[in-house]
Symmetry: D2
Subunit: 440 residues, 4 copies
Amino acid sequence: MQEPSRPTASPERPERGASAARAFWQQRFAEVRAHTLRLASSLSAEDQCVQSMPDASPVKWHLAHTTWFFETVLLPRSPLAYQPFDASFAYLFNSYYEALGPRHPRPMRGLITRPSLAEVMAYRAHVDAALDEAIALADETTWETLRPILLLGLNHEQQHQELIATDVLHLLSCNPLLPAWQAPAPTQLRLAEDRHTGWIEMPGGIVDMGRDLPQDARGEHDDDFAFDNETPRHQVLLRPYAIADRLVSCADYLRFIEDGGYRTASLWLSDGWAAVQSNGWRHPAYWLASDDARLALQPQHGAAHTGPGWQVFGPHGLRPLDPGAAVAQLSFYEAAAYAEWAGARLPTEAEWEAAYDAPGIRGMTGEVWQWTRSSYDPYPGFRPLPGVAAEYNGKFMVGQVVLRGSSQATPPGHARPSYRNFFPPAARWQFSGLRLAKDL
Amino acid sequence: MQEPSRPTASPERPERGASAARAFWQQRFAEVRAHTLRLASSLSAEDQCVQSMPDASPVKWHLAHTTWFFETVLLPRSPLAYQPFDASFAYLFNSYYEALGPRHPRPMRGLITRPSLAEVMAYRAHVDAALDEAIALADETTWETLRPILLLGLNHEQQHQELIATDVLHLLSCNPLLPAWQAPAPTQLRLAEDRHTGWIEMPGGIVDMGRDLPQDARGEHDDDFAFDNETPRHQVLLRPYAIADRLVSCADYLRFIEDGGYRTASLWLSDGWAAVQSNGWRHPAYWLASDDARLALQPQHGAAHTGPGWQVFGPHGLRPLDPGAAVAQLSFYEAAAYAEWAGARLPTEAEWEAAYDAPGIRGMTGEVWQWTRSSYDPYPGFRPLPGVAAEYNGKFMVGQVVLRGSSQATPPGHARPSYRNFFPPAARWQFSGLRLAKDL
Amino acid sequence: MQEPSRPTASPERPERGASAARAFWQQRFAEVRAHTLRLASSLSAEDQCVQSMPDASPVKWHLAHTTWFFETVLLPRSPLAYQPFDASFAYLFNSYYEALGPRHPRPMRGLITRPSLAEVMAYRAHVDAALDEAIALADETTWETLRPILLLGLNHEQQHQELIATDVLHLLSCNPLLPAWQAPAPTQLRLAEDRHTGWIEMPGGIVDMGRDLPQDARGEHDDDFAFDNETPRHQVLLRPYAIADRLVSCADYLRFIEDGGYRTASLWLSDGWAAVQSNGWRHPAYWLASDDARLALQPQHGAAHTGPGWQVFGPHGLRPLDPGAAVAQLSFYEAAAYAEWAGARLPTEAEWEAAYDAPGIRGMTGEVWQWTRSSYDPYPGFRPLPGVAAEYNGKFMVGQVVLRGSSQATPPGHARPSYRNFFPPAARWQFSGLRLAKDL
Amino acid sequence: MQEPSRPTASPERPERGASAARAFWQQRFAEVRAHTLRLASSLSAEDQCVQSMPDASPVKWHLAHTTWFFETVLLPRSPLAYQPFDASFAYLFNSYYEALGPRHPRPMRGLITRPSLAEVMAYRAHVDAALDEAIALADETTWETLRPILLLGLNHEQQHQELIATDVLHLLSCNPLLPAWQAPAPTQLRLAEDRHTGWIEMPGGIVDMGRDLPQDARGEHDDDFAFDNETPRHQVLLRPYAIADRLVSCADYLRFIEDGGYRTASLWLSDGWAAVQSNGWRHPAYWLASDDARLALQPQHGAAHTGPGWQVFGPHGLRPLDPGAAVAQLSFYEAAAYAEWAGARLPTEAEWEAAYDAPGIRGMTGEVWQWTRSSYDPYPGFRPLPGVAAEYNGKFMVGQVVLRGSSQATPPGHARPSYRNFFPPAARWQFSGLRLAKDL
């Protein structure tokens, strides 16, 4: 372990006006980094070490990997004569960047009990200090290079903040005791929303979608930011369609279950039906039916607060199903089957984006990601970013499905209309739900 | 086993003009059915019984399944008081139609040594006779119902004709002796094509793609036919692009191999690179390097006709690599990596279709299916056919990639500009290759 | 393909007395080889080509492999200038002899549709003719070398005769139609045996078991033969014990099932209980409960001859359970659980062998192999045979369990008191049952 | 959580003489329990939580499970009105006792981040206090019941002490940094032992082996203890044999490696050769060849103390191979192949036990467990203990191989001549090595 190094040569100091901008970014950096730690603050070292499935990662790994990103991609381009905190971390905490050398196999991330959580915390502090210094000391030319990387790194860390939430929940959901991640919230059942779905009619025609990167990446504020997979801004031709003004709720989804949705092959895509049968799916991933054996292991088992019906596992532990809440932890297969059952369909991502600001529309962000009926293909004219960032998004563009919006686990300021989230169609440990659409 | 039954009631006989049309369809039916048998004619009962992998099916199963389709979907709607040839065949030879009851598991199709090939041949003859009679005897109203089913059944059988070819080749490729399916063709190496690729510039804009079904399905001739996944005809907005005037050849692909294509992670999609590493891919599925151990088992091992370089396994057995032939038996991953290496990309299916009749373009059909950069999603406005045919295409629309064109194994008359073939991105036992495109 | 070759040099002709002995062996050889073909005679080429699981082999492979053994191990030591029938067969039909070079992977034996069954039949005839000639023409010194190999080869072929029976039954049992291997036998239910089990008391003490090879291998007749795993003859010390005078019957085993045997963990070995749960075992492998869905596919479904109760699949197809027949197609786990339930245990192989000729004992051979409570370990002083035969038995001596006796599928003359059959404890496609024992 | 409860009724107090005996057992109990904690004392909560493979368990689980055993089997029979510490622990920490209800699946033990390590420590303290009280307060009749359970529980905990050592080492060996479990020991290479192996000749004949339980279980001291699988004491008849006076050393084993042992099929059992090929075994599990990529991640990489040759991972981290140390972390397959290569064989367990006190024999205990050539079968007359303990040993008696002796990880006082350890033949994360034997 070493202290962040002073620059080897005295750099041209940033000017005063620039200085205010640097302070802005120093603070922004500090805030994002602190939010990550806040997410982990209620978790023990044990909680942060274990990997619950190959698709998920330990929190400690997320803490280290996001740090590694800044250390590996930004600091070598900074004026600091920075030396890596620990030479082995490049091997341990690289996620999937082939260009950055060999790395520890993903399914074995949970076996890394050393370095300890405390060492990873020290790693974070060390890199944080170096970053702070690099932001302050870079001359303007260097800063023009660093700022887009910083912005990418912050957005990268925000993505991992959401994964910390969903990966922790998955881990805790594998514990038959179903422990709560966060302190229990006061039990306040929302009344079930009125079941009426309003349909917002959209005229179609040629619409713009996506984002252009070049100017954004040099924008002064991070709401100018976009990932490369959102680029370029381009036009698509839409037919007239209607989109639901609200998300599908737990009450809605319960009707699908009670109507035999999980037993009716004709509602399902072929791969979806196979998944239902081989995995024994009968409800969303974190729902517990009233005869679930794990309920007997709950400390206040039988107490009034759990109630007689469905329970849903979430950040606050087990809670009675909230009929008005958006259904979550759905696979694409389940979302598509529900839509078929409801006599509707999922929107395409272009339809979703075109309706983003439609008057009367609710729940586009902040509750659940919404599965679309669009496979994750490149936009016309898409080219990956140059350099290391080339591996950021483009190489995953096959076999996955696009989700739009954002969820309760998405950090503030990270959502935008053009954001393209993506997961394999069978994934169901995310805050993933749906909104209906139909042809006109 | 039973004889095809006479109609229970004397139907209204078709009129004379209609009679000529019926004769046309009787002949068309006979031709398609005969072509299937021709494909199998050089194969022993053993060859036709075995299943080489879960994705492939035995030839005997193809022979029976295509027959079952006519027996189950068409004959019950015909005027004949038809009784099924064997009550158990509905269980044995249903492929994936949930609406038609339980069925024999796909990976166990190769264990069905009984019924024998001879019995399946008798089954075919029995159903053929019934079909011939049903076409002749149906009154006009019934005929309006039967004809679209007949058309669908014939196109369905043509699809299986191609699968017979590719599944047999896969089976024979698993035999270390690499026996030839068909009599050896005279060795006549084509000279390598001029390597120059012409780029055809396409202006983009709003183009029509796909097909409308209703009128087609009632067309008098089967070139009016389309599958439901090609519908509806709709407009898309394209950017200007260029498309190669020819297919990627074996000589082209060999340069990619020799340039380390299979060792360069940055060329590959993430899932593709994982497939390369876990499967040890080093070349297309049916290529044999000169040090392949199976060459020692060849009867004329060392003889001049095999030569010193790459060998390619195909319908005529092992042949020296033909530099000018279209490269085939590629996965989507390999096609995409090649395009990346070549500084180009794959066309979208809309781009492919818009260029179908472009002046100077070659090889759009009849050589290899061409992987596109389009996931297999539904077209806007797509609805599956009603009834049993609903399960024909729509339920497979996730996790697969579209191929366009047709191959040397596609039966004559089965290709059309709007045809959407689809396979998972890792599939590489088809005659699947590629054509390049690029942005303008 | 070639004709069996004449000897290159004129050998010393065997003398007259020897000549009679040679004729004996020529006839013996012809009989064993003919019996193999008789087993396959009711099977189609399709039946003989397919492999139903990695543990089983196609009949065609058995036909070729037993021939390959004579061709590879005996003929090169004979006076004939023999050339292999086909150079590739050494690769295709070697089973597991590392010393004899690389070989086709076992799980892929069913993909070898070429060579055809007809070619394998020609291979057999070719090698048969060469063997016949080799036996006749060998001089006495050579004959001393050949005879033990011939004897081993014949016993080897007899082992494969039993595997042909059990592998074919397994294949047919995977066909939902459950076709019969052999012509139906007249339905003649044996009356259930008296359930009384007589216990034969054995005094224990020092007993001899096993066989000595050297003199045996040179015996004039094949009842002198033993495999190396039966050697050497040695003494063991037994405690007094009792052994049942009869096999466990289907009626006995049915009581175990009806008493909840498959649901009672405490009766089972740990691995056995895991197998019950993961495989869903509820009865012996070839029993069908009256609600088995496959019964609906039987042609005479509902006819009186199947009856309302349990059906058992066997060489003659489906038959009503015969209460007095020995229970078969049991794993070791099931045999051990049954014995536990019955308040008894399985005999050790030494106990079994010591009781072989006990007065009053029945069913030691000819019905079912009997699982013992002895793992398949080497006898004290065991050394594998020299040369290729070293791989015959010894290298399998771990992880398997010994069965004793013989079954209805064992060819006549192949059983003897010291015979050690062995299978993994989960295997249950053999004619494997049990006999009880207990301490005194 | 609750305090250990006082007895509900005032028990008959133990008499004075008895009182001294009780104090002995209180101390013995405290010592064994403290030793377990000592083993874990250098491990972080993270280290103790993770499960490195399904065959291994987390240290925290071992800590809890051994406690659960006392709580569940002993305390309900004690005079205390004991209430379980936490009702859910019966589910979480039952290992495999079917009679004690359902339990958490073994491969998911590593996902139990809650209860935390601190809670498990509190659980231990709580049960320790209750045990101490129960020992003191039990009347004599109750004590006669409790003492054998206590003895069993202590021996059970000692077995888990060894598993803690081997499971921790396996976990750390999966970390590419190869961290040390214990503080580095001073580097003091033992000189390679003289390679001469002395052969101790044993006469054979009838020998006694095993142990009788009834009197042992009531013995005053735990050196009277034996597990049920060592019973009953019985006689076996041995042939004359010779046994090596020392263990096979790392230097010995290195010669096997250098002579191509891992490339020579004829040395291996069939399953062993398959394991070599499918797992890529080239040396014992914890040996690192000098080109091992993990060496580059070592902090003092290149430093003199690692040296140029083989490194061996162990409790003190990476150390240069010690030629005179007993080879360890071997599977049975490797031990058997080594013996074959050395022209010898493994001893049977009876031979091993008969030679236990032979003059001149060394290393029978305290270095490595020694694979024998005996499958883990029941002794003649073996009956499992009644009650819960019935599941302790007997149900694992198939598919495993016996090891004899004890290792450096075995707690003091836990070894004895009749001890039967057992593992599947492929296991190689134990301190398992071998000693040679041969026929005379």
